[in-house]
């Protein structure tokens, strides 16, 4: 077994991260992983949803918008005082300079799909080897979010049943392009980004761009659906 390369990014002054995890050991370990992955990053750890939202209120405003070195939030979904989804939504709404990433132990697609719809820009499985985790973190940070076959299949179904008029045509958020559908199909059959790129004759970077776009469209369409649902029920 050969150890994977351990690339680290250059020092990024002032870069910060937040780990939201109620298990003390796991939290310490995730903080360590972040420190390993990103030189000079300042990592805070909290154990509850309330503490996370408080941190976002006081510290989150400092996150740099439109910067290559966005802040990172690792979010456990099952928190003692509520769902991590709320934190993801809060970041999605108010903190464009923070990348919300789900850290979970079980990759059941329902939770992950909902998290992506809420605005998560990636997810990590906590039981992975630390080296692998670092690698995945870099991929997400570099704009290449993960997409497991089951989530790809779920996305295809989601967009197929989505009524085009249900989502305001914000850069075609309600529909997928033919290329995006091709990418989802290949990923849904278990290919990784590099393999899908080879099949389609594109660069992995382009495929990663498609995936990122699909993430964004799912987020927009879910938000629009939620708004439509709310207005249908007279909540707004």
């Amino acid at each position: 077994m050969s150890a994977p390369p351990k690339p680290t990014k250059g020092p990024t002054a002032g870069r910060r991260a937040l780990v939201i995890e109620d298990q003390n050991d796991t939290r310490a370990w995730l903080i360590q992983t972040l420190v390993t992955a990103f030189d000079g990053i300042a990592v805070a750890g909290v154990a509850s949803r309330a503490a996370a939202l408080a941190w976002l209120r006081t510290e989150g405003g400092g996150a740099p918008a439109d910067s290559a070195a966005k802040w990172i939030a690792l979010i456990d979904l099952g928190l003692p005082d509520g769902s991590g989804l709320d934190i993801i939504r809060e970041i999605d709404r108010r903190h464009g300079g923070i990348v919300p990433i789900v850290t979970t132990i079980y990759d059941d697609d329902q939770h992950l799909f909902d998290a992506i719809a809420a605005g998560a820009q990636g997810y990590l499985l906590k039981d992975q080897h630390p080296d692998m985790l670092v690698q995945y973190l870099h991929r997400i940070d570099g704009g290449e979010p993960p997409l497991s076959p089951s989530i790809a299949q779920r996305m295809l179904k989601h967009f197929a049943r989505l009524k085009p008029q249900a989502v305001p045509d914000e850069a075609g958020a309600g529909t997928l392009t033919a290329r995006e559908i091709d990418v989802l199909r290949l990923l849904g059959r278990g290919l990784r980004v590099a393999e899908a790129a080879r099949v389609l004759g594109l660069t992995p970077h382009t495929i990663a761009g498609y995936v990122k776009n699909i993430y964004r469209k799912l987020n927009i369409s879910s938000r629009a659906e939620a708004a439509i649902e709310a207005s249908r029920r007279g909540l707004t």
Partner: protein, 754 residues
């Protein structure tokens, strides 16, 4: 056969009562009236005029005065008034001769009073007599004395309460006797009300008839009560023997009416007293024999006490004194009020002591029936009222009726009278609601609520009798439902609050209801069984896979190895929770997941993967959970082995299936497999586990040495044991027939080495 609905009996009795009350009032009011109140004042001053009606014909009479004679200028000479003429109840005479003379005088006086002009001879206090001519008029309603109303009220109440008890159990002899006793009180009281409230005289023939009715009613009440306590609460004699009671008292009654008895007290008061004594005796006997039945005793205490206190007070205060030649202690008219005690007592006791096995619901039928009658009465009153409105006020009145009364009436009608049902389309939803309730108690509660909504029965009770199917009984008065929704068999009686009967359409509805209920329950049971199987499957898999893995991790000394074991355990848990034993994931989904996972793992280990897409991969073919679990675990194990031991740079994987069997070939270009692995050395734990898994799934493993590296071929059936596929609906002692059948098949894994 005509079935009497409870509400019909009560309504019929109400109408009968109204008719009887009207007749009584009509007779009482159509007698000639002078507007004087008379009172017997003793031998010397026989009859005193104690008051005159302010607007009556005699309003000008000077008071105080006494009435000396009644005459008529044209016809016969004046008749002198005697003290006995104003007697309330002629039964008090000792001999029939006295009664006969009294009746004759009543006839004479009544004839005089019917003349257009009546000459009254009155004596003032100073002793002067004077004659006054008066013209009799019609008696106003308000002039009727309190005693009249007490008797009328008592008679009406006894009739209605008796009818209401009868309505609940029309076939029961006890309730029939009770209702009969009430009707007898009515006959007796209404007759007495007329003659005891006469001003001075009514026609003797009418008097005689009324008196006879009074006697019939009084003795009839006693007979009915004696018979009642002979069979209630406990049946002491056969119902046929009850005829002995009238056999004794009816001849006695006839002798009295025909004046054949030795004396009037013997003919009239004595049998009444004997009856009263017999009632007391029978209540006592019932009390003794019901010593070991507290419920019967409680009912008896209440009913017996009411009867003894009510009838006993009447008899001892008005009848008994006559027998010992004393004056009655209290007017008979007022004393009639005691009888109301009996019936009011019963009404109060029904709910508390379950008299005649009735319960609170018995009140409700009266209430709802009363509501119907009341609404009709208001309607009628409104129509009459509107007729007499002056034209100017009519418009306003109509507006009030339109916007006020009609909506209110509709509300009341819907609340108390209208039949409430359930639209057909809601039926299924209602049944689903019942069957999806979590606890059995909740299901039972909802089931009863649904039945209440559908049929609105007055009684819904469980029955211990076996009910196999929906059956309508007692001519539509009740329906029986078999056990359903965690509820024993139910009996529903008096649908729609006793206003309608169960018909064949309702029987069909009830059948459909029970059928749907049982069907959804069956599905629910199957679902529950499925979830139990699923729980057992998860428990077993957790124990077998995760437990075994964690145990091996416990004894590892190398931390890296321990970490690996823990990660593998987590992967196992993922497989276990993602698979559903009843779910059959498509083959394509499993291959996609395996391809992705393998790619990631090999990439992390720096190994190249050659696993091209194959149209066969994307198969929707369903995969049994055991096959899925076995195949992915074996696949995973082989890849782990390669990463850890083979030193390979490249792995080629091909998967194909023929619809029956699934085969995967995993070839690496590593150092080649060590013979020790095949022999089951300590380092070969993973491989041995793999072999066991594959054997359990009825498949086989072939391991070949390649010129460079190793190729492993795993073949398993897509459905581990097609013949013994689990069936969700059939009960099965084995939670996993397919899986266990495969163990029993015990195929030995064939390991070939080349």
């Amino acid at each position: 056969m005509i079935v009497l609905l409870p509400s019909r009996i009560v309504q019929g009795a109400t109408l009968l009562c109204l008719a009887a009350v009207s007749l009584t009032l009509w007779i009482a009011l159509s007698q000639p009236w002078l507007g004087i109140a008379l009172k017997s004042g003793g031998e010397t001053q026989p009859v005193a005029i104690i008051s005159t009606h302010p607007s009556g014909p005699a309003r000008a009479l000077p008071l105080p005065a006494r009435l000396v004679a009644v005459g008529n200028s044209g016809a016969a000479g004046p008749v002198e008034i005697e003290a006995d003429d104003v007697i309330e109840e002629p039964d008090m005479f000792e001999t029939y001769e006295q009664t006969g003379r009294f009746m004759q005088r009543q006839t004479t006086l009544a004839a005089l009073l019917r003349q257009p002009k009546v000459a009254l001879t009155v004596a003032t206090e100073s002793g002067q007599t004077q004659s006054v001519d008066l013209a009799p008029a019609r008696r106003p309603l308000a002039d009727l004395p309190l005693a009249f109303w007490i008797q009328l009220f008592t008679g009406a109440g006894a009739l209605l309460i008796g009818a209401y008890v009868l309505a609940m159990r029309p076939a029961d002899i006890a309730t029939r006797l009770f209702a009969l006793s009430g009707a007898m009180i009515t006959v007796s009281a209404f007759a007495a009300a007329i003659y005891s409230s006469r001003e001075l005289a009514i026609d003797g023939e009418l008097f005689r008839v009324l008196s006879a009715f009074n006697h019939i009613g009084a003795l009839g009440f006693g007979m009915a009560m004696i018979a009642l306590f002979l069979i209630y609460p406990r049946r002491l004699v056969s119902p046929r023997l009850l005829w002995i009671v009238p056999a004794v008292f009816v001849p006695w009654l006839a002798a009295d009416i025909l004046r054949l008895a030795p004396s009037q007290p013997v003919g009239s008061q004595l049998p009444t007293l004997i009856e009263m004594l017999l009632i007391v005796v029978m209540v006592g006997v019932q009390w003794l024999v019901n010593g070991n039945d507290p419920r019967a005793r409680a009912a008896l205490n209440w009913l017996g006490l009411s009867v003894i206190v009510g009838a006993g007070a009447f008899v001892s205060l008005t009848i008994a004194p006559v027998l010992v030649q004393m004056e009655p202690v209290i007017d008979q008219g007022h004393a009639f009020g005691f009888f109301l005690l009996i019936y009011a007592g019963l009404a109060l006791g029904v709910g508390r002591y379950r008299l005649f096995d009735l319960s609170e619901w018995a009140f409700r039928i009266t209430f709802y029936t009363g509501a119907t009658l009341l609404l009709f009465a208001i309607d009628a009153a409104l129509i009459v009222f509107l007729q007499f409105q002056p034209a100017s006020a009519l418009g306003i009145a109509l507006l009030l009726v339109g916007f006020g009364y009609l909506p209110l009436r509709s509300l009341l009608w819907n609340r108390f009278v209208a039949r409430r049902g359930l639209p057909e389309h809601e039926l299924f939803r209602a049944i689903i609601d019942v069957s999806l309730a979590v606890t059995a108690a909740e299901r039972s509660e909802r089931w009863r609520q649904l039945l209440q909504r559908l049929f609105d029965p007055l009684v819904m009770e469980e029955t211990q009798e076996a009910v196999a199917a929906v059956e309508v009984r007692e001519e539509g008065l009740e329906v029986r439902l078999p056990p359903a929704a965690a509820t024993p068999a139910l009996v529903l009686r008096y649908p729609w609050r006793g206003r309608r009967l169960f018909g064949s359409a309702h029987q069909d509805l009830a059948r459909e209801l029970v059928r749907l209920m049982l069907y959804t329950e069956e599905s629910r049971t199957a679902y529950e069984r499925g979830s139990i199987e699923e729980r057992q499957r998860i428990a077993r898999d957790l124990h077998d896979d995760v437990g075994a893995r964690l145990l091996s991790g416990l004894y590892k000394t190398d931390l890296g190895e321990t970490h690996r074991v823990l990660r593998d355990a987590i992967t196992d848990i993922r497989t276990i929770v993602s698979g559903l034993s009843t779910d059959q994931p498509p083959l394509g989904r499993m291959i996609a997941a395996l391809r992705h996972e393998t790619g990631e793992r090999l990439a992390a280990a720096g190994v190249e993967l050659d696993w091209p897409l194959d149209p066969q991969d994307d198969s929707p073919l369903p995969l049994d959970y055991p096959a899925y679990r076995c195949f992915s675990a074996a696949h995973r194990e082989i890849v782990s082995n390669i990463i850890r031991h083979a030193g390979a740079r490249r792995v080629s994987i091909r998967v194909h299936h023929d619809g029956e069997r699934l085969t995967t070939t995993i070839a690496d270009d590593g150092i080649g497999i060590d013979a020790a692995h095949l022999e089951g050395s300590p380092t070969g734990n993973g491989l041995r586990g793999l072999l066991r898994r594959v054997r359990d799934a009825n498949g086989h493993v072939a391991i070949r040495r390649l010129p460079a590296g190793t190729a492993v071929e795993i073949t398993i059936p897509l459905r581990a044991a097609t013949a013994a596929a689990p069936q969700a609906s059939a009960p099965d002692p084995h939670p996993h027939p397919a899986f266990e059948g495969c163990v029993e098949a015990g195929a030995t894994p064939r390991v070939r080495t080349t």
